[in-house]
Symmetry: D2
Subunit: 359 residues, 4 copies
């Protein structure tokens, strides 16, 4: 079975290739009666689109989304919502060089081997461009979650290479994140990140980093043990994002060095509500949200596309070299933030509806 | 929808509670004609069961698995394979204290809030005991993968607290792992880990750690973009294991500090096969296995059960203290190794069959 | 993907073979807090079991069901409910003759060809015996539906061969159905049916018939267009029952001969509720329940097992003859009634929970 | 969970409303390397579209399908195939009368009650118009099946009202079916059917009928017991088609009147292949295809839209009358034929790929 659908109740099927006629997707399971128009989706897409600042790729794609079905008079009807984004940049250039070889750490080789055929233009289906409809779908989920529970999802760039902020993620607002093009809410650190990104771009190189994300106000009870635990589905969603290599929740990898007596989160009664005094659990216990903020981090590798000579093989296995051309992201982190948020929204929304089904 | 099923084609449904009559599960989608008997499953279960060494819980459970269906004359028939493990330790003790409060960093609170009812005895469904049938199912998957492709899955304990080995994971064999009770193939480090575990146990405390795992010989092509990428489903499987807090593949979180020119894996022709000179990708590119070893790590928090006074609240929200009694694991890492391997086997086997379906 | 799971939210996975150690299944998605014990399930099983009357097979199976998980103190906990029925009649007899040939209109040939191996004893997985756990699961669904909405499902034998009743299905109660062993609520017709069944049995032959079923009190709104319409999932469930060859709802095949002006069901206001004056729709419009009784019929072919010489081929393709031995149902209809009801309950319950998820 | 997706491996998700901007769907799981362009899909759509003959609705919709993704250089790539059909006839007319009442035996009432909102124009999502993308998807499935196995699916109109043909379905070819606008391959009967349809149209009335369908050359082994039997999934698919009220396979309802000794299909050796001498089973035994032609019938009720005064209620429950206007099908049967074939193709193709997965 192909893997282009995410979720079980709030279900999103993504389709399209980087340089095809269009990209898009279908949202099923959206409750009826939600006010919804393109203007609800476009802001998130604008945070993801190329060309939005000097530190991201300068390609030009407006990424204008259109709703083709599922609403009437500006409200959802409970039927599938079809989203489409027409590609400006269709298969036009000369991809004959790229067709002959495998770019290092790209998906060229694996797609070719798996399917026996690949859409070379712009990376085809393996391009991060196909996250655009996902971001639009995530905006629908986010609107539902905000209306129902006041759930707010705030992601930000925690590190670029070895430049890192230790800002308390609970204090970060969307406004802080959007205050600079690198989407790091710590102004001083952001400055350094931007310089680093410009520097690696000048070298034709690239850099990775970490996105941290907080989901505020998730009610107690989301998550379906024993396999579809909330952190398990978040982990899956995050590892499905292009270039991601790791996920951790709460105390994560560093927490393995604590003792149980340090790590356990004592329950306390806060004005009649059961909360925990610390939050090493990251908002999830036994796979189920416990009412505390959900905090997680996602690792992104340095972009595979670099403007340097690299050794590789051609499709016949002969050694060759490859040097990318054109406009690329030297660092995916700033544009990854809205994708991480969208994926989180899709997971949380699906788990809300899954729980509603039988409890 | 409840979340007790893993996989789509090779599908495993787990059922049971820690101290109920039995625990078990159903495997669907196992190809017909595989030689299979309980003796194929028991060794993996014996590596997971309590009481196997001095550094794990001393509870006594033989964890004897029985195959109830799906085979005839010692061969699978293509029909569901029902697995059962009868519990020796059924609801017998006095759980009235535990019923009245929420143990810190356990699932007591979230289960009670989500379902409005919980099976207190031994943690009920949230107990790591329910991974036993999963380990048995994983042994079936592992047998299939070994026969079909020579796939071999080797997990080991990389760290306990801040004690860590840097052994090359590609060189580790099952025999090395089983050479000591902590399942760390580096003898010197293992010694220190064992001492540390004994020390924290004496303190009534607990410690966490990291499991590293290599999957050898996965053919090119496993993994279903764009959401069911191989690393995404591995991440999900690992984060669904009790006490896990993080997953990383290949270069993981540390790799975010490399430049693209350092991190990209150059393709090379090795005796006619396309391989990569380095393996920062961890065996997966674009969500699809590339024929290199798959390498990943899983973070486990320190066990929540500690024999120390802890502050918490009771089910009415009043402050109280709790101190666990009885026999517990001061460190889950040694017993987590076969669980990590089993989950990996289930994911890889499912992706093999998923790909077979349409390619 | 194997097909042993029914439903999406209220999900039932069936396992086992006719003469294996046991048969059983796992129910996922049952709401927590339902009072449930074996005594809720046994009555339905007793209506299905062999040996209950002189006109069904005289084999002896008590079909005693046991709940292995998912309840505590007699209430469901929201976790999987594992059901098991131990087989008395395990692989013991000599099946060497049956192993060598294909019984006409049985599943011997197709199982052997599909899987390359088959469990000969008692028909293995293809035996109607494996409907027993399904009937138990259906009893859980039926209890939920009755408590939540007063939904009551009443099936009965409408015809045996060409002997048929025209009783108004809306007037039939369980008591009427259980008044005689053939489960036809029309006493005179029942008498004739019983005679017919005894007659065909004496001839070593078999007969088919039709089950009619009414589902009372289904609320408006169950059913998920455009593919998972309520009648579509009912049709699927019914056609999955052993020996069934047809399904029709409301006016069914005969209704094709009416004009639209005769067939349309006029809406009327009945004491403030919108109802329809006629019910040719059978309780479903546009794939969604409309609040009227759901009425459908299922066709069952004559039992394939007959005590007469029949020509067939052996596993090598050579012509041979076969004559069944032992105790068999000359007519499956009386025992099919609880199976039809159970399948209907599983479908309705699943659609209730599916709708709850997002509406 | 919403129900807009059909199939598990060859999976089709349908979206759109009758008078929205567009209708369409997404095909997942189509093998890579299939030559595919719009010209493969359009012929089936042309057989379904309005205005094709004098006995169907005279509305004008070209139903031009466009492939938006999933192919490169005219070949499928293994990625999702997005299909779109732009609507000519968008929400433009005055639907204020229809918005105020519930048309008898339409889905107006159930949609309004279920979702609390409905798209009135053209029936919105409940319109048979949304079968158009399904027909396009079915054409892809049909092309795959034809290439792989020579599978050929031939449906035809067996009856209109009480006018019926007894033509041997095995002898019918597509050419015979297309020889007249009613799609009945029996010329004399077709003539009568056409007259009948014209007659009921003149009366502002409508008529139902039966489609019979044969699937030639299905290999042995398709179908997944015990719930996803081949006939079960065919039944589901057929009952999900607008206006269908019944399904039967092989001997169907009439076969219930036969004795087992008449009904059993003796196996015979035909030039080295095991076949059955008769085919009361309809090509499926034990839920699995047996290599004989698959033969089934689908009952369609008379069209709900009639140009006559009908009593009904308005949305506030007050009695009122309704008389449809405009251009409608007095009989859906001729246009139902390609829909039945498409649904059958989708089911068979999915079962082929499902079996490939694990066998």
């Amino acid at each position: 079975m192909a893997g282009d659908t995410l979720g079980q109740v709030f279900r999103f099927t993504n389709w399209g290739e980087s340089h095809g006629k269009a990209i898009g997707g279908v949202v099923e399971g959206c409750p009826a009666g939600l006010e919804l128009s393109e203007s609800d989706l476009q802001p998130a897409l604008d945070r993801r689109r190329p060309g939005q600042s000097k530190i991201v790729t300068q390609r030009k794609e407006a990424d204008q989304v259109e709703i083709l079905s599922g609403t009437v008079d500006g409200k959802t009807t409970g039927t599938p919502i079809s989203l489409i984004i027409h590609n400006k940049d269709q298969r036009s250039k000369d991809y004959s060089e790229m067709a002959k070889l495998y770019r290092p750490s790209h998906a060229d080789f694996t797609y070719q081997q798996k399917y026996g055929i690949r859409d070379v233009a712009g990376g085809g289906r393996s391009s991060a461009r196909v996250t655009a409809p996902t971001v639009a779908a995530g905006a629908i989920a986010q609107k539902l979650l905000l209306q129902a529970f006041g759930i707010n999802i705030v992601g930000f760039v925690k590190s670029v290479g070895d430049i890192s902020t230790n800002i308390d993620p609970l204090t970060v607002s969307l406004k802080d994140v959007e205050a600079n093009p690198v989407r790091c809410p710590d102004a001083d650190v952001a400055e350094k990140m931007i310089k680093r990104i410009e520097q690696v771009r000048k070298q034709g190189d690239s850099t990775g980093g970490i996105v941290e994300c907080v989901i505020h106000q998730v009610p107690i009870g989301f998550g379906e043990p024993i396999f579809d635990k909330l952190e398990a589905d978040l982990a899956k969603a995050m590892l499905s994002i292009n270039a991601s290599k790791g996920f951790e929740i709460g105390s994560g990898f560093e927490g393995t060095q604590l003792l149980g007596s340090q790590h356990n989160d004592p329950f306390v009664n806060q004005s009649g509500e059961v909360k925990t005094a610390s939050n090493f659990s990251g908002g999830v216990q036994g796979g189920i949200s416990n009412g505390m903020p959900i905090i997680f981090r996602v690792a992104f590798k340095p972009t595979a596309t670099i403007i340097q000579d690299q050794s590789t093989v051609d499709v016949e296995g002969n050694p060759t070299t490859f040097k990318a051309k054109g406009r690329h992201d030297p660092c995916v982190l700033p544009r990854a933030v809205p994708i991480v948020e969208a994926m989180a929204a899709l997971v949380i929304c699906d788990h809300w509806l899954r729980m509603k089904a039988y409890l």
